[in-house]
Amino acid sequence: MSAKRSRIILKARIIQAIRAFFTNKGFVEVFTPFLTRAPAPEPYIEAMGVEDGFYLIPSPELNIKRLMAETGLEKVFQLGPVFRKEEKGRFHNPEFIMLEWYSVGNNYFDLMDECEELIGFVLESLGMNRAIEYRGKQVDFTPPFKRLTVKEAFSRFAGWTPSSPLDEEKFDLDFVEKVEVGLASMGPAFVYDWPRERASLSRLKEDDPTVAERVELYAGGLELGNGFSELTDPGLQAERFKVMIEERQKMGKRVYPWPKDFLESLSKLQPCAGMAFGVDRFTMLIANAETIDEVLPFSIDNA
């Protein structure tokens, strides 16, 4: 009872610190709609449907970029719940708190710097050291965090290097069974330059279009965040959505309506970078919690 109470208070303090960090830097906090007609057609993220043709957002990404494109806002963050069907496990709950921030003029390397700064600021606000212990392992958030490309991570932990076109089956399996296990023992680490097949809504690298300007942050065995240099070309993004929709159809998954409003706005979006960051998982690390359930008021099992 009291352990839960202190974790709830801890999460509240983390959220306050996150708000202070972005507000101090001139970001505008937004609340784009939590209901959408057209979630991104990601092949492996399932939106939860509600009445009248609406879905709960699996991420605020499309809405935030559309808002920035339509209003010219340059620094924006949103903090709130997102919803993903069927995701339940030690690190997953179908509803969780996501922080997303976007800044015009930045790229994915700037996101890595911002992550280091943000985490340092939050730990300092909590009166904590940069080095914390999570499940018996030291996780030292003193910058700079380690930075390795997806290729480097695979050659180091899985003994092979992904190439184009990607063997997606082998990639996923070895990522989970070998790379994530290896990353768990190396402190906070950014894994960047993801295969183009996993570019999602990120820009491809100019000097090597087989990889995308996408980064993930790992710490203590947890995936904490995912960020992109954003793709701002509506034609390329539409092509990519078509491929994603075909993949969904092939797997017999529900096809969402075409994200027309998002795509129409995209030509007005200035080059920018955006990061998604899991607040519950970050709280798990700081609270030394074994499961995400321990940092939630109620998990899906007794929601």
């Binding site: 492996y44 030690r90 690190f91 997953h92 995936e223």
Partner: protein, 187 residues
């Protein structure tokens, strides 16, 4: 049939015709990739453990396991003989199948036997049994206060460490979960 989303710790499934129990389970989703279900599994026949990763849409056959109340009849050259207390049907188990339970099985003892389809897998004994000492070396006088022990042989052939005051013909209460001496019983 189970679906991958039914997988969880403690679930019992059939793989290559043998029953396995999931001893550890983790849902994993690498960035923008497919959902993967990582399991540690233990073969309920052999105790062999292995890791397996399953995908969305994989199907699993539930292991048909039943617990049946049985009475231990006797042991002979063919093995250990039990009788189903409801149907009076008899079954045999080999020494391997009986495992450590052989140290504590006494004629007429009621046990519960776990079956996978028709195959007996394991015996669940009462937590405590009373067994007679059939062989005990004499105790060394004056040493009883120090907690010293000596080995004695029980009627089942099992050798156990007991306090020095235990003698041949004594009845002992044994904890079958630890295999250890609890106390001497008056008979």
């Amino acid at each position: 049939m189970y679906d991958s989303s039914d997988l969880r710790k403690g679930l019992k499934i059939v793989i290559d015709g043998e029953p396995y129990i999931i001893t550890d389970f983790e849902f994993s989703k690498p960035g923008k990739g497919q959902a993967l279900y990582r399991c540690k599994l233990k073969n309920m026949l052999t105790g062999y453990t292995m890791d397996r990763t399953y995908r969305s849409g994989d199907k699993f056959e539930p292991a048909n396991l039943n617990e049946v109340k049985m009475q231990f009849l006797y042991k002979d050259g063919d093995g250990y003989h039990f009788m189903n207390m409801t149907t009076y049907e008899q079954i045999d188990m080999t020494e391997d199948q009986v495992g450590d339970a052989k140290n504590f099985l006494k004629e007429n003892m009621e046990v519960s036997i776990l079956f996978f389809d028709e195959t007996p897998i394991s015996i669940d004994l009462p937590n405590f049994v009373e067994l007679e000492v059939i062989d005990a070396p004499p105790g060394v006088k004056g040493d009883t206060a120090t907690g010293a022990t000596k080995p004695v042989t029980l009627e089942t052939g099992y050798t156990i460490q007991v306090p020095l005051f235990v003698e041949e013909g004594d009845w002992l209460k044994i904890d079958t979960r630890t295999g250890q001496y609890v106390e001497r019983k008056k008979k």
